[in-house]
């Protein structure tokens, strides 16, 4: 039994997809739809414009609340508050690591739940919703007690561990949304053609659910970056970005916070744009 047909299946799955545009259609409805979408996108960015603007503000006091005047000083000294920069780096690190691990755990669960009904799948279903419902302040304290019982020092590890715990459910649900309606016969075809289940998984199943995984990763990353209360309890004296900002804001709001936030946005935007251009090139060639 050869696997001659298998490459064809894999190719079909990995082939660049034709752009999804809908032919014809009612022009007005289409236009309205695009305008609505554009407005929502604008809505998402309204505070961002303010944040970017205020990164150029020149307050005389420590609070960056009212517009005083334009200056490039803040951009000249973006790392003026080392604690802020360190906290940001730490949070990015924690978000990346915890997301990576939670992705594996959560995706596996999602696939298992969709692919076949097995005994206990409803129970697992329900169970996965629970972490989403638990209020952070009590869970944070309970987790801290747990870590203390294990004799773990509160710090980087405990933060990552705690983040993974609440990310799993988010990831599982997002990947699931992608997988409903998945054509499992593709897997059959692949295995009929001689591929091992593992190869099938990596070459056929996974590529098709990648958008779900990417979306889940993005959500999980954003969640981790923003988490305050649970992180507060389990962090010991380690300071993450939200912890720093929440604490600092009571005493001062240096424009450097805006500067760093804008910098992240700009860098991400550049990366995104580069990625898009690259894909265009690939398709054209």
């Amino acid at each position: 039994m050869t696997s001659q047909g298998l490459p064809a299946v894999i190719e079909a799955v990995e082939a660049p997809r034709t752009p999804k545009t809908v032919k014809g259609g009612r022009k007005w409805g289409d236009l309205l739809l695009r305008i609505a979408a554009g407005l929502v996108l604008l809505y998402l960015f309204v505070p961002i414009f303010v944040i970017i603007l205020f990164s150029f503000n020149h307050p005389a006091g420590k609070f960056n609340y009212s517009w005083q005047g334009f200056t490039l000083d803040n951009w000249a000294h973006p790392f003026k508050y080392p604690a802020l920069t360190e906290a940001l780096k730490l949070s990015l690190n924690v978000a990346a690591v915890s997301t990576a691990i939670a992705l594996v755990l959560g995706t596996l669960v999602a696939i298992a739940l969709v692919r076949q009904r097995f005994r206990g799948s409803t129970a697992v279903d329900t169970f996965l919703v629970l972490p989403l419902t638990a209020p952070e302040v009590v869970m944070g304290a309970a987790l801290l007690t747990l870590f203390l019982d294990f004799n773990w020092a509160a710090g980087y590890t405990t933060i990552v561990v705690a983040h993974i715990a609440f990310e799993i459910s988010f990831i599982a649900m997002t990947v699931r949304a992608r997988m409903r309606g998945f054509d499992w016969t593709l897997e059959d075809a692949s295995m009929d053609l001689g591929a091992s289940p593992t190869r099938t998984f990596f070459k056929v199943t996974l590529p098709l659910i990648v958008p779900g995984i990417v979306a889940a990763a993005m959500l999980s990353f954003a969640l981790s970056l923003d988490d305050f209360i649970i992180t507060y309890f389990v962090s010991g004296s380690t300071v993450t970005y939200p912890l720093y900002v929440n604490a600092a804001v009571k005493a001062a709001v240096p424009p450097q916070i805006n500067v760093l936030a804008t910098a992240i946005l700009v860098i991400s935007l550049i990366l995104l744009a580069a990625g898009t251009l690259y894909r265009r090139k690939r398709i054209d060639v």
């Binding site: 809908v22 996108l41 697992v124 989403l132 419902t133 638990a134 747990l146 649900m173 900002v245």
Partner: protein, 291 residues
């Protein structure tokens, strides 16, 4: 690929158990154990020192009754806010997710990235920015007042609408992304076919798109509604004395009043109500599974 073709292949009996094992084991330790201690606390009575109370487990169901009766207003309010926020998120997210999925072509990933970017700026900074925009004397509020859209209070901040607005803004990506991933896998030829079949766009939407997008709707609504009900930080910054949510109460009971059994009981009440709501919702939507 269209349709939900299920496999007839005899699958390994153990595969699913193996796949769920890592996540379950992980959550078993880092969620279930703390959760049990929470449940235990909720049924205890506290005594002894104020700051390091000894909790004696005594099947103190009274804690639950107290939670319900003292804080019924906040419970109802939290769920109302969360419900409104979820609905609005759905309404706003759908057009955007749809356009990205079907009309964005090669800019799909770029726009998706744009959508998530604002959420890499922390909550507090976004909220401060909104407070700047919606300040009582700012031009947004003044304009609205001139038109007469604002009720007697004449302000947007420190109202329930500000809190709901905060909930919407901060949780909307959890609606956009799941909607997008579930829309994106719909074959566009289906849409064309449905347009031929159904003469009007709304019908084609109701009969074809919506059912196919249902997994995304389900996931999105849960990922918004659940955290929003337990939220406290939006009410803290954007709310007034009349808009406290159950999350704020739990926070206060736990940190300031230090009534740990009460805080725990309230938490469990919150969790149970959400769970029941979610189960009913899923049943109503007609999908057998939650996740």
């Amino acid at each position: 690929m269209a349709g939900a073709a299920t496999s007839n292949r005899q699958r390994s009996k153990f595969a699913p158990y193996l796949m769920i094992l890592p996540a379950l084991a992980y959550l078993g330790i880092f969620f279930v154990v703390p959760f049990f201690s929470l449940a235990r606390t909720s049924l205890s009575s506290s005594g002894g020192s104020v700051f390091l109370p000894t909790l004696t487990f005594s099947w103190e169901f009274g804690n639950y009754f107290d939670a319900f009766s003292h804080f019924r207003d906040q419970i109802i309010r939290s769920f109302s806010y969360a419900l409104v926020a979820t609905l609005v998120c759905l309404l706003l997210a759908f057009p955007l997710a749809y356009v990205i999925a079907f009309k964005a072509g090669r800019y799909k990933n770029l726009i998706l990235g744009l959508v998530i970017l604002p959420f890499f700026v922390t909550f507090l900074i976004r909220t401060i920015a909104w407070k700047t925009i919606l300040a009582d004397d700012g031009w947004v509020v003044s304009a609205l007042n001139a038109i007469g859209l604002l009720p007697s209070e004449g302000r947007l901040l420190s109202t329930s609408w500000a809190v709901i607005g905060g909930l919407i803004y901060n949780w909307i990506i959890f609606m956009i992304l799941p909607l997008y991933v579930s829309l994106e896998k719909i074959d566009p030829r289906l849409l064309e076919a449905s347009k031929d079949l159904y003469s009007t766009a709304p019908r084609s939407f109701r009969k074809v798109i919506l059912p196919l997008a249902m997994p995304g709707v389900l996931a999105g609504s849960m990922l918004v509604f659940i955290p929003a009900s337990g939220d406290f930080i939006n009410a803290d910054y954007l709310g007034s004395t009349q808009t406290t949510m159950i999350g704020n109460v739990i926070q206060k009971q736990f940190l300031v009043v230090k009534d740990y059994p009460a805080a725990a009981a309230l938490s469990l009440v919150l969790m149970s109500i959400i769970l029941v709501g979610v189960l009913l919702y899923t049943r109503a939507l007609g999908t057998e599974d939650l996740v």
